[in-house]
Subunit: 177 residues, 2 copies
DNA sequence: GTGATGTGCTTCGAATTCGAAGTACATCCT
DNA sequence: AGGATGTACTTCGAATTCGAAGCACATCAC
């Protein structure tokens, strides 16, 4: 974190090295995500989002509010409402009002939900291992983890909305037609 | 530490190191993808897929068939048909029959399509730089590129089908139709 | 206490994606 | 040739996602 040029984020194009890295990253993750999704659908009749929600509930032993549950998984509350409704209809979670906040909804995992997670988790892990970790060395895994953790934390701290990132001095205008 | 190669892809759970790497990777790319998508929509009224298609056409100067164009971008031909139709209706590409294969459709970039790409590319690159490359050193970029290129090529070479999750018991035969 | 603002969640509509079935052309086998 | 198989692409229907608008509750100001 020593040499951080303040002007790097200006108008400079990406160098070939960076471009290749960017494309490889996006395509690899896209492939991985589709493979994982297909496996989850086949083995447990779950979408990736649904699995993420169940896994997050399994992780934190208590119940979570809709907003806490959505954090980092979906980008709209309505999407979560839909998925939570499906999971509830499938008997994998329960929804109930919070005693604390009477406008919040607490979501909790049912026994069937926990079983479903346990059912698909091994296969999920196996796909990740075969597609992602097999061609990597232990050193690669550590580097990748360090890099992506940094990137993720960086993005989380950035203004999530495009709300005035920095008092655009000069041309921010978009001559649209 | 002893490496049991043969059983790595078996039933072993991921070690905490690997799990953290996996989650960080997926979440970071998800965040990046959403940010990029929003930017493309705002600046050029394009979805990420549409931009990828246009960029791919701009890269290879000639025309491409639908299948070539879809490769690595969408995972169903029907999705490409839909998007190509939208792009054609917007005047960004043209579709015509191939003189070689009379069942293939050649897609080519129009002048307006090239202009659109040039219009959104700087902003796209800027988002990628700000979100992805800013917190990374040159060494990180190189490592990430090397790792993800390897992973991507590994996935491309794998059997794309998810068949035979277990040793083939039961029938896979289609005695129908 | 009453009103104004903010938070949590849910409909509602539009856009996108995929898989399965269908059509048109090409290629291979006998 | 003639027929079977394979390839390229296009409808068609189902499922998912997001954003905007709306409702219910909470919190703050006066």
């Amino acid at each position: 974190m020593t040499e951080t040029d303040a002007q790097r984020t200006e108008e400079q194009p990406l160098r070939p090295e960076e471009l290749g890295t960017y494309f490889a990253l996006m395509e690899a993750v896209s492939l991985l995500q589709h493979a994982v999704e297909r496996h989850l659908r086949a083995e447990g009749d779950l979408s990736y989002v649904q699995f993420q929600l169940l896994a997050r509930l399994a992780g934190s032993d208590g119940a979570l509010t809709m907003t806490e549950l959505a954090d980092g998984v979906v980008y709209s509350r309505s999407g979560l409402t839909h998925q939570a409704g499906l999971l509830e209809k499938a008997g994998l979670v329960t929804r109930g009002p919070s005693p604390d906040d009477h406008r919040a909804t607490l979501v909790a995992l049912t026994e069937a939900g926990r079983e479903r997670v346990d059912q698909v988790l091994p296969g999920h892990v196996q796909v990740a291992r075969r597609l992602l970790f097999d061609p990597l060395s232990a050193q690669d895994v550590e580097s990748l983890g360090s890099i992506m953790t940094r990137v993720r934390d960086h993005m989380r701290d950035l203004p999530p909305r495009s709300a005035a990132p920095r008092r655009g001095r000069g041309g921010e205008q978009r001559a649209n037609s």
